[in-house]
Structures are given as C-alpha cells and as structure tokens.
C-alpha cells in the first residue's frame, strides 16, 4: 500500500504540494489526475524517492521510501521524460538497470524483445519518442516491480502499442499483484484501467475514491416525460439536466435504483439509466468550473 499523508513540498516558497494525501491499496491501479501544475509529477517524484518532503509522511508497505534502497528495489518508475545515457543502447541500459534491481528478469527481457521489436543495440537517442517510451517500458517491466509508478506513461505511443503496454501492465497486476500508480491527463484511458482515482489541484488531493464508489454514487438517466410536462420537476435533485427533443438527460447524485424510483413518480414514458464516463463523473462530481475540469479532460 502507498500511503501519503499531509505531504508538503515547497520550491523557493511556492508550495507545489500543500498537504497532499493519497492511499493506493495494494494490487490496485490508481489513476492520478489533475490540471497542469497540480502537483502530480512532484508527488510521483516523492513516491519514487527522488524528492524529500518538507513535511508529511510517505510510506510504501509501511516503510518510508526516502533513502530506503531495499524498498526502492521493489519500485520501478517511468517518468514523463525518461533519461538514458547519450550513447547508450537498450542493451546498455538493460545492463545498467540490472545492476541496480536485484529482481531484474532476463527471461522477461528476452520475451519482451519480441513484443517491442526494437533493435536493442541501436542507440536510444536515435529512436523515435514512442520507441523510447517502449524501451522504458521494456526495461521497467523487467525490474519485476511490486510498485509501478508511471507518469504520463503512454504519451507518444500509437494506439496499438498503448493497448499492448496496458495489457502488459494489467497482466502484471493480475498475476503478481503489482500496485500501479499512474498519472495522466487522459481520463478516457484511465477509465479503462484504473480501479481507484484521485484528482489533484494546487498541491492538494481534491477527491479520492474507487471507481465503483463513484459509479454507485452518481447516475445518468434518460427520461421522456408524459405529454404536457416540458420541464424537469423542481423537486427532483438533479445535478445537471439537458434536453434533446423530448428526451431529458438527468444527472443525479444517487444510486440508479433510487433515481429511477423517484422519476417514476411522474409516470414517464421512458426511463433508462446509463453509466457515466469518468470524465462525466469528474465534471459533475467536482462541480465544474471551480476545479478547472476542462484542463483534465481531453
């Protein structure tokens, strides 16, 4: 489990993290989202032991990560701008990673060679951005991490390779119980892989829930009211309502059953509960403009 409590980090007086808190359950895939400058990368750099917090606590598996090589051997990370040595090939970097990570698997390295189809002897800087990202995944997955920390992991990857990479990650989660913390702007992509999400802004965690909790707590109904009822009844607790023709789309903060029951009091011609996308949940859950939601959705 990754536990972050009241984490504060200041850069020249500016609080990049201002009491951030986070709990990533073991074996879960946790999506960290937020607008630019929210503090996601800073938080991730704390989780990977690069930065040392000014205040607060950061525990992974109950241990502090700072200067804890035994724990860090279980953590592998892909930052948004992965570093490699100027003249290094994937094979060179493999030797380097292998020297640090005791569980580095050569068997997996050989297997993934076929998946990524990159010439391992070619200088990495000669590879395209997407191929460099693949190389990063290749090496990091071979570290056999218990904790995988990904910052904008699939930027630059083509759709096929995105699917391939997520498939690898998810199989590790399923087979080895790997805990994944992933930061991304792409809510649609996170929706497919995450079981927990947290949204950050101004160095704080604004919301942190499991995806199931979010979905249980909010519903989208498509309703056709009887003739003569043009407006949505005022006593319905609607978060958001829109209308196309005679079909009203209502967002309500309650379970689907409860919402359906309340709408049925007005004898609608049609009631249909539709699942909300992650994007819609964030928009309506956070109340819209105050949290600059437009910045976190593609």
């Amino acid at each position: 489990m990754i536990e972050v409590r009241n984490l504060v980090k200041r850069f020249d007086g500016f609080a990049a993290l201002d009491g951030a808190a986070l709990t990533v359950p073991t074996g879960s895939v946790y999506g960290l989202v937020g607008p630019n400058g929210a503090g996601k990368s800073t938080l991730i750099r704390h989780v990977t032991g690069i930065y040392r917090q000014d205040e607060g606590e950061l525990l992974i598996g109950g241990e502090p990560v700072w200067e804890n090589p035994a724990l860090k051997a279980k953590i592998a990370a892909i930052p948004d701008d992965w570093y490699y040595f100027l003249q290094a090939s994937v094979r060179d970097m493999m030797h380097f990673y292998r020297g640090f990570y005791p569980n580095f698997s050569m068997e997996r390295y050989e297997k993934l060679k076929e998946v990524f189809a990159i010439d391992e002897k070619r200088t990495i800087r000669r590879l395209s951005k997407g191929m460099q990202k693949q190389a990063a995944f290749w090496l990091v997955m071979c570290c056999m991490p218990e904790y995988l920390v990904l910052d904008e992991p699939v930027d630059g990857l083509d759709p096929v390779m995105r699917r391939q990479v997520w498939s690898l990650v998810m199989s590790d989660v399923a087979e080895r119980g790997t805990t994944v913390l992933v930061s991304s702007h792409n809510l649609r992509e996170l929706e497919d892989v995450c079981d927990h999400v947290g949204i950050m802004d101004h160095g704080k965690m604004l919301l942190e829930r499991s995806l199931a909790q979010l979905q249980d707590n909010m519903v989208k109904l498509q309703v056709v009211f009887p003739d003569g009822m043009d407006a949505v009844p005022a006593d319905l607790p609607v978060v958001h309502a829109s209308r196309i023709g005679r079909i009203h789309t209502l967002i309500m903060r309650m379970s689907a059953e409860e919402a359906t029951r309340r709408v049925e009091q007005y004898a609608p011609l049609l009631v249909d509960a539709v699942p909300l996308t992650l994007e819609e949940i964030f928009i309506y859950e956070l109340g819209g403009a105050n949290y600059a939601v437009k910045d976190i959705v593609l």
């Binding site: 850069f11 895939v29 020297g99 079981d195 979905q215 699942p275």
Partner: protein, 658 residues
Amino acid sequence: MQSKTSSSEPRDNSAVQSEAGLKKSRAPGWFNPALFRKNLTRFWPLWTLYAVIWLIMVPLVQMLTLTAKSNLATASERAVQAAETLLDTAATGGLIMGAAFGCLFAMALFSYLCSARAVGMIHSFPIRRDSLFWTNYLSGAAVFVGTDLVTLLLTAAIQAANGALDWGNLAAWFACSAGMMLFFYSFACFCAMFTGQILAIPAFYAILNILVLGINFLVQNLASAFYYGYTSSTPAWVVWLTPAYALSSRVSVNGVWDQSRYLYTRWLISGLPVVGVYAAAGVVFALLALAVCIRRRSETAGDTVSISWAKPIFSFGMALCFALSLGQGLYFLVWQSFRSSGDNSLPAVVFCMVVLGLVGYFAAEMLLNKSFRVLRSHWKNALAVTAVLIALGVGLGLDLTGAVARVPAANDISSVQMDISGWNSFSAEITDPALIDSVCQAHQALIGEKEEQQDRGQTSGTDYWYAYVKLSYLLKNGATVIRNYNIAYNKADLEKPESAVSILSGIVAAPKVQRANLFQSVDPKKITGGEMGYLDSDGSYQYKDFGEGAAREIYAALCEDIDAGRVGVSQFDQAAWDKNGYANNLAFYYDSEDGSNAGTSIQFTDDYTALIAALKKTGVVTASTPLEKQAEVNTSADDTDTESAVPAAAASAASGEG
C-alpha cells in the same frame, strides 16, 4: 466503465511476490559495481586523454632521454638528466594535470546532478546517496591511481632496461602526481556539490582555488592606498589556502652540484610533505562533499547554487569580490587618472566599490533566480551591501583596525628585516634586542612624522633627500608585520636625535647591522678572492682582481672599520657621501652554500680608514689603479664637457658662424 482488475479491494500479493523475493537481493551497500562500470565505459575519452598525456610525459620522455644520442656522453649523465625530467614532471606536470583533470573528472562523474532528467533516474534507483557518491568518487580515483600506477610501472621498466632504475624518484613522482590529483579532484567534487550547472563547476573551482590570495591582494591593495606606511604582504595562511600557488611555490626540484666535475650528480624533489598535507586535505574535502551530497536536494539540478545556505554567501560574496576587484579597478582606471600620484580619494573609491558591489550583488541574484527581475525583490539586501561597503570605507578612513599606528612590541619581535633604498641601498636582518628596540623607536617616529612627511611628499625640488624604508617584522608567534615609508629629509633632520631618520642612521651604523648588511651570506672562511673597480688613465672603468690572501686581509680591515662604527655613518647623509664617497667599487668572491660562486660588492668613503689602508698595503691600490672620489670624477666629467665645448665655440667664432 469497468476496471481491468477484477476487484478494487486491496489484495494480498505477498504470495505472488514471494517468488521474486526469493532471489537473493544484491542490495547496494556503499558501492555499486554497475554504476562504477558505467562510469568507466561512459567517460572513456576523458580517462584515455589523461592516460595518454601521462604516458607521453613520463615513460616516453624517459625512454627518449635515456636512449637519445645527445651531448650527454655517459649513461650516468643521461640517468641524472632523466631523473631531473621525471621529478620536474612530478612537480610541475603533476600540478597542471591535477588542477586540470581533477576538475574534468569531477565534472564528468557528477554531471548527472546538473540534469533534472538524469538526477530523476539515478535518484529513483535503489541506491543511497552516500553509495552513489562513493561509487562516483571512487570511479575517478580508480582511474587516476590506476593510470599513475601503470605509468610508474612502465617507466620503471624503461629505466631498468637502460640501467637507470630509481625506485626512490619513481615513488616521489607517484606520490607527488597522485597526491596533487587527489587534492584537486576531491576539491572539484566538493565544488560540484554546490551547483546544478555544469559550467559553474569549473568556475567555482577556479575561483575558490585563488579566492583567498585574490581577496588578500585586493584588501591589502586597498589598505596600502589609504593606510600610511601599510604595504601588502602574503601571509603563510593565505598561501596555504591558495593550493595551486602553494604547491607551485613549495614543491620544487633541486640538483646536487659537483663543483669538481662541474655538473649535477643528483636531483631531489622538495616539498613532498606539502603534497601530503594537501592530499590529506583532499580526503577531508571528499568527506565534506559527501556530507553536502547527502543533504543536496534533487530538485536543485539546474540551479547556479544548489545548497540553500550557500546562496546568501554566493550573493554577498560576489558583491564583495566585485566591489574589491572591479570597484578598485574602476577607481584606479577612471578617477585616479584625474588625480596626482599618491593623492587617493577615499569617497571616490568607496563610491566605485558601492556601484560595482551592487552590480555584483544583483548579478548574483539574477543567476540564482534565473531572472532579471530582482531589483524590486532584493533592494533591502542591496541597501545592506551599500551600508557594509560604506562602513568599510569609513573604517578605512578612521583606521579602525589601528594598522597605521601599529608598531609591534619589541618583546614580541623575533627579527626585523630593514631595507633602505634610494641613492644608497641597505638591507640587513636585525635580531639584537637592543637594536630591535631602536627600530621600534624609529618606526614610532616615522608614524609621528606622518603629516609632515605627507606634506613634504607633495613638494618637488631639491629641498630634501629621499629614501624608501621598509621594515619587515617577524613576530615570535610566526606572524609578519610589514610597513614601508617614503621619507623626505634634510641635514637638519639628521641632526635632530628624535627624528626618525636620525634614529635609523644610528641603527645603520651599528656594527652588527653593518655586518649583516654587507656580509649577510658571506662566510669569511669561504672567501676566494675579490676585485676593485677603478678608472684608468683613459677614464674608462676597469677591474683589478686580487687573490684569496689579499681578499681576507681587506675583509679583516673592513670588519675593523665596521666595529669602529665608521661604516654606515653616511648612509642618509647624501652631502657627506657625495663629498667623501669613492667611485671605486669593491667586491668579494666566495663559495655559496650550494657550491656555486657568489659575490658581494660594497661602496666606501673616506670614513673606511682601515679598508683604504689595507687596499694600499696589499697593492690593490697603486698609482695605476688609484682611488678616486666620486665628486672628483663628476667634476672631471663636467670639466671635460666644458673643455670640449670651448674649442667648439672658439672654432665657431673664428669661422664667423657666431
């Protein structure tokens, strides 16, 4: 919307991961072999360059020296030559190589600290900061120690093949080159810990290497411009804190001269203990660098100064350096051009220092903040800089340190080196307590005459005689105090017993002082001969040599004059010297301590009665090698000019040219 994971509940993954955990963890200790190997392979051009230079400078040059068909006839001569070359390479080459490559090594190995991407990767790895530091540090150390060892063994093989194997000199070379490299490399690593800019590493390294000497020079230069009698000096601690200067001045190669064979038979390197001290300091710097490295924050990659407590030191230090260097430079360049010599303006120099000090301060803040917009946010500190520099100027003007009036207590003085130059020079080391007491009195009198001397200094013409007096005190605690004075005096001053020049005149005439002045390095037993200069009948200056016996007799007579107090009485009396001084120059030859020939020459006057008698008695002075007064020579020269002018004028008149 479904998660790919089957459940959002935290699962117990210990069983799954135990498989991975079964692998024996190669948990990084204080050293990481993978990083070490990567360092060796990644920076190979640098390591190769270092090795190639040493291999050319030492084994190749040794081979050429030992085998070349040069003018050195014998193998032993070539071996001595090779030894000199080897040790010179250690003293000079070791210093240059250490200073240059020490910095380059540190730049290469700690360059990752200057890139946010690199530091992000390295610091996310399962390795502690101290292990990272030691692995990187030892990578560089292994390269230079390994290279030096290979060079040593190769050179030994070449020497052995030519029958000139000298393990002592080889060990000295290794100790010197590796010791210097250890210091400079460690110091550069220490500097690298304070910055996140790769180019700032050599800048900090170079500046800190000469900072103390530079600041000392600038402060003393400022003080000597405004403090009466103050002169700049370089205390020993300043030299110690300027490593390159200390090593270059204290590590040297000396030959053992064989006078009979007229060649050097051996070469020795001196100053190895100094190298040892700096090597030990290198270890301390490495430990300090480690301490800074552990506390250094990863996010400071790219910052000019990475350590927060060092930032104000950088800003205010840069302000001070700008004020002292460029401020003084501006003053002397611009302001001084419009003033007469010696007339310094304290307000002007303070103004220049404040202006350049502020420039330095804001430049430093711009570098730290990576922004030009620092004026508004740092004006309070700028005021502090201004106040400090003005206070420095006021303190200088009021002599708050007491430097002007400071005369060391006679009891605290171990010796005084008194140097007088002008129309008649004098130099002697005084150790006699009574004479030291007199020197202190003279010094006190010189300070008391400050106003008068400054007034006289503004007067030009022939009213005064001028002399430059330098007093260098060596105190019993090892410290030195040096003062110098340009004094203008006249006959009346010489006759006043309490005047500085009168007291100095008395000191100069003391037998012990004159012996020190004339024969500071002469052992009478080693006198081998001498010569006397004279004007021959044609008026040209000639020399007459005399042998060891005559030289010893003349020397004894001179000592008799000294003991009788007849030598030095006219040191400050230019009129008496002009009237009674001889144009003849007398020189003694003697063997110096290193076996080479040396000589010392003296001028003399009528007062040197015993000397003149001895010169005549020994036949040095004869009718053909006469003594001639300087005044007579000058008059004769004037007459000759007049005589040559008169016929020309007569001829001109006779020819009607008017």
